[in-house]
């Protein structure tokens, strides 16, 4: 990055999401890196956990931000930028899962699942790694709708109204999805840990 671009990015980092998007809507993509830096972590982690596939999450993240630029005029200031970006991400992920469903099992196996980050992170304790593995497996037991709802609620801290907007359903439906997801997670985590005690106590 040149010095002038770095300065420009630093100055832009003080602008609000709405102000940055206003610049983008005017055809100037220079805030792209600032918006990316602001939201890529959340977008990537959501996609990674939703899809359970690092490569697909990479493609999703890149596509989401490209779409953000291409369809900037569809963003209206009345919604949060994060909600809009999560809407694009969730759509991409749902579309991806639908296509994966339509393909044969053989094709699904083609996708490379990277080792979970914990596998190569020596600083995490055995207990943390074990809990991470259990949580991953428990999340896999959820339906796509439930996983989407719990990921947005638990890990992204979005309100049910925002999740409803992203998922294209009512707040009541979100409430039901999160509740059912929690019920399943409780059962799976208890069962996975050989009676549940070890796993549940480990978190206390």
């Amino acid at each position: 990055m040149t010095a002038s671009k770095a300065t420009e990015a630093r100055e832009m980092s003080h602008l609000s999401d709405q102000e940055l998007m206003h610049i983008v809507q005017g055809g100037d993509f220079s805030p792209a890196s600032v918006i990316y830096d602001r939201y890529s972590g959340r977008i990537y982690n959501f996609a990674f956990r939703f899809l359970k596939n690092a490569e697909a999450a990479e493609d999703a993240t890149q596509e989401v931000f490209v779409k953000m630029l291409r369809h900037a005029n569809q963003f209206h200031g009345d919604a949060k930028l994060s909600t809009w970006l999560f809407s694009i991400t969730a759509n991409w992920c749902r579309d991806y899962l639908r296509k994966a469903d339509n393909k044969s099992k053989e094709t699904e196996d083609v996708l490379v699942s990277l080792p979970a980050p914990s596998e190569l992170a020596p600083d995490r304790t055995y207990e943390q790694r074990e809990n991470e593995r259990l949580v991953r497996r428990a999340l896999e037991a959820l339906t796509a709708e439930q996983r989407e709802a719990i990921l947005l609620s638990r890990y992204q801290g979005l309100s049910y109204a925002e999740i409803a907007q992203i998922a294209g359903c009512s707040e009541g439906a979100v409430k039901t999805r999160v509740f059912r997801a929690m019920e399943t997670l409780k059962k799976v985590l208890a069962g996975e840990a050989g009676g549940g005690e070890r796993c549940l106590n480990a978190a206390q």
């Binding site: 972590g41 291409r70 999340l139 409430k175 206390q204």
Partner: protein
């Protein structure tokens, strides 16, 4: 719905402190008074906490680079459009001609057979002609120059048109031009042993931009070229380049797996690529895959040579190497008993 059932449904909202103060207070009072709900609430809290054990994953920097590169291209696209100097007399003609040219581009993308244009050196008929013996190789990359009246005004296939430039080389004549890049879809069929097919697949392995299709291409290559009848060192070399150069560790892991399925006829190419990955790949998961693959090859007796033994010895004793890789290298050496 009983009060307890309603309470349980609201527990996730209670966890996120999303209930209004009055309902929150009411809920806590109920939970304190009700043993079943109290137990359920504790269980909810524990589950919620455990979910936090899923660590945040770091975003690979390559995504940022790829995105900004794309954003840069998008900007460049706008800058590339040269303002067309309008000639009022020919304004209507300019608009009509431009529409005709772009529409014609659509016709190209929407049809599997391109119209025969005298000034164009290539047509998509080339594939069929090659099969019939009237061989006229065509290039996938070409520049066409066409007259507007040679193109159909019908737009089909929703072509993606980019990098538009208006060209008016001679302002005194009544001719204008428009240049653009347009995507078209190609299907190339042929025997897996045909050189063109091998080159095409090799190129795709190294140049497909998105990760998932690259991974799919590797799987396709594995299925096709694990057959001894299709053994080809060029495929092994392409995989070796993917293993050496691909920025995505998942793809490199897949490249190792694909290399190990190649027939013994290309074993030396495979072994060299794996040794190189074991020595130089920055990712321990890839190095581990490589050493495992070499172990399998060594067990089958096809890969033992001094270079391999040296590399394994070096890895087994390398202090700053990943522990798993060191142990695996030592295991392989032990099993080989050199």
């Amino acid at each position: 719905m009983s009060e307890c059932s309603a309470m349980k449904e609201s527990m996730p909202l209670l966890l996120t402190e999303s209930l209004d103060p009055a309902r929150r207070e009411q809920s806590h009072q109920h939970i304190e008074a009700c043993a079943a709900c109290s137990e359920a609430w504790l269980s909810y809290q524990q589950t919620w906490v455990i979910l936090g054990d899923l660590p945040e994953v770091e975003v690979p920097p390559r995504i940022r680079e790829a995105f900004l590169s794309k954003a840069g291209i998008a900007q460049a696209k706008n800058e590339n459009v040269i303002a067309f100097r309008r000639k009022p007399v020919f304004k209507w003609l300019a608009q009509a001609a431009a529409i005709a040219v772009i529409a014609g581009g659509g016709y190209f993308a929407g049809h599997t057979r391109a119209p025969r244009i005298e000034s164009s050196p290539a047509t998509i008929d080339g594939v069929a002609l090659a099969r019939q013996g009237d061989f006229r190789p065509i290039s996938l990359v070409e520049t066409r120059q066409l007259d507007a009246n040679a193109l159909s005004p019908e737009i089909e296939g929703r072509p993606n048109i980019t990098n538009v430039q208006f060209v008016d080389s001679d302002a005194s004549d009544d001719q204008i031009g428009v240049s653009f890049d347009i995507t078209s879809r190609w299907t190339v069929t042929g025997n897996p042993r045909e050189r063109s097919m091998i080159r095409l697949l090799s190129y795709m392995l190294e140049n497909e931009a998105a990760v998932s299709p690259r991974s799919n291409a590797l799987e396709w290559v594995r299925q096709t070229y694990s057959d001894p009848a299709n053994a080809d060192p060029e495929i092994a070399n392409a995989l070796a380049r993917v293993l050496r150069n691909d920025t995505h560790e998942g793809v490199r892991i897949r490249a190792v797996e694909t290399l190990t399925t190649l027939p013994p006829a290309v074993a030396s190419d495979t072994r060299d690529a794996l040794i190189n990955a074991l020595k130089n790949d920055p990712n321990p998961a890839v190095r581990l895959k490589a050493v495992e693959a070499l172990a399998n090859m060594a067990r089958s007796g096809s890969a033992i040579d001094p270079a391999l033994i040296d590399t394994l010895r070096q890895k087994a004793s390398q202090d700053d190497e990943n522990l798993y890789v060191r142990v695996k290298a030592a295991e392989v050496l032990s099993s080989m008993n050199p």
